[in-house]
Amino acid sequence: MIPPAAFLLLSAVLFSLGVLAFFVKKDLLTQFMAVEVMLNASNLAFLAMAKASGQAAGQVIVLFVITVAAAEAVIGLAIIVLIFRQRRTIRTDELKDLRG
């Protein structure tokens, strides 16, 4: 039996990697993938805690997160495609029209 701490540790590592990737990478698509990694890291943490506590609530939340992530992926990708069509680039350094 693997202790829950190991799952949580893996989850923390995955999350940190996601954050790191988000900050290091400069194109929108990769940053988007980093966000997905973070989401799944949190899913893992939920599942670990659900198993440890023996309650179903954590698993329910994971289902919700997956649903939301799916929807987000659809919209996010659509936005990225549209941005690319308009600007011929998805480099976040160049997309700063919302500067105040």
């Binding site: 988000f22 900050f23 105040g100």
Partner: protein
Amino acid sequence: MVRYFWLIPLLPGASALLLLLLGPRLSRRWISWQACLTVFLSFALSLAGFVHLVRAGHGSSGLAKTLLPWIASGSFSAAISFAFDELAAVMALVVTGVGLLIHVYSVGYMAADRAYSRYFAYLNLFTFFMLVLVLASDIVLMFVGWEGVGLCSYLLIGFWFERPAASKAGMKAFIVNRIGDAAFIVGVLFLLVNVGSSSFAAINAAPAAGVLGPGLVTLVAILLFVGATGKSAQIPLYVWLPDAMEGPTPVSALIHAATMVTAGVYMVCRLSGLFAASQAASSVVAWVGGLTAVFAATIALVQHDIKRVLAYSTISQIGYMFLGCGVGAYAAGMFHLVTHAFFKSLLFLAAGSVIHALGGEQDMRRMGGLKKALPTTFPVFLVGALAIAGVPFLSGFFSKDAILTSAFAGGHYVLYALGLSGAVLTALYMFRLIYMTFYGQTRATHPAGTAPHVHESPPVMTVPLVVLAVFSALAGFAGLPVLLGEKANWIGGFLEAVLEPAAHHLALSTEVGLILAATAAALAGIAMAFVFYRKRPDLPERTARSFPGIYRLLVGKYYVDEAYDAVVVRPLVRGAETVYARFDLGVIDGALDGSAAAAASAGKGLNVLQSGLVRDYALAFLLGAILFLGVLLL
């Protein structure tokens, strides 16, 4: 029918509301009928109530009706309640009767005006407020009517607001009235605090019951009278009335001659118990009235505008009414109010007919010779002039004589002399007006004023004139001198139920002497006018040249307007300008501009945070999350 007397004010009020809301959509025919019919119904109800009171005789307490509770606050309460007693009956008949005739006349006079519905809406609204003032059974509700008629007066003086003079005159009337009303409000508050009730019955009974001390009675009465000097155009607040002639002529007849300006006299009569209890306040009323009567008459002597002559004449005649009230003859004051309402509205409407005929000309120096051209207007004008001058057996003769006799009987000989000399002046300026307008050769310069264009007014205007002329001639028989028997003074007896009685009796010979003196005064004035303006037309100018100082003083209207301008208006305006420059622009605008500038610079400073780069925002997000976790863990 009598039970529904409370509808008297509400009918014109409802009509006014309808005209204000739907006015421009209604046809002129409909507007005319609606406006006149509602006033006619009020008149019919007033007449029914009046007949009821006459039949009931003395001892009837009149009709009363409480419509709604209104204010209830602590120990103070006021209700919307109307009362119809003898005094209210007489006044309501005047307001609705003369008002009806003037509504009808207006149908002809205003026929060509663009704002027809607005005119009748205001006129009906005025009738409503005036009747509220008359029928109110407590002083707070009366004050509502009091302010309401002031508002309508303002609206109707400035009816042709595209003319700067008219809108200025409206504002002047409103502001001058405000000054009087301020004193009136203070007086009312004194009453509410000390009497504890706002009903007229309680207030009139208060001095005798010892609820109000003698000093307080005098103070309150004088404060209320200051309000009356504003509304009724007496010294020192009369200055607005001559300017009010900028309004349409029927308005001048209704509001600024027959009804609203006499509201002050009505109020003094309504509170006769209060005024009679203070010798000092009564003296103030009498002296202000007497002085105003002569003062305004002297100004009327040299005016050239036909309506302004009548305006100063109105001020002078209201002075007589106050003179009567001040010497304790409240019934005589009311009687003069009634007869004055007839002959002065007649004179104004007839003057309106003259102005109408001459295409808007108001300057008497460009009139003359209209006797033949205006076959209806001239005789009715003459009746009005004879009545106001006090020629025997016309209404003004009896009412003026009643006042002068009371002044003499009360031992106020100086006031009597003032009144008598005022009577001479009245006859003089009225017949100066008649001779300048109707006799001699035409002096018209305007093409519309020359012979072929001059036309008599349509029947809708002349019929009210004839009706008013009949009343001006005959109304005096309601109040014959007492020497013809105890019952001769019918109106005096009728009003005795409400008013403080005048308890003076004179020897028969004295009374006859007084009547002869009044007659002589009237005839002397007419004779002087005949000599000056008919027989020797060069005489007025020569007289003016012999007394240049007096003449200039009169033409300048004693420079009262100029004095007020220098003492009150200009310092106020200058003070307001200083406050505007220092406080408004400096402090208020400065604070506003300062806070706006602070917000703008704060925005500029924080602007750097909004880089537009996703990574910067994400960093802020991350730091925030770490901070939050840190706080949570520690």
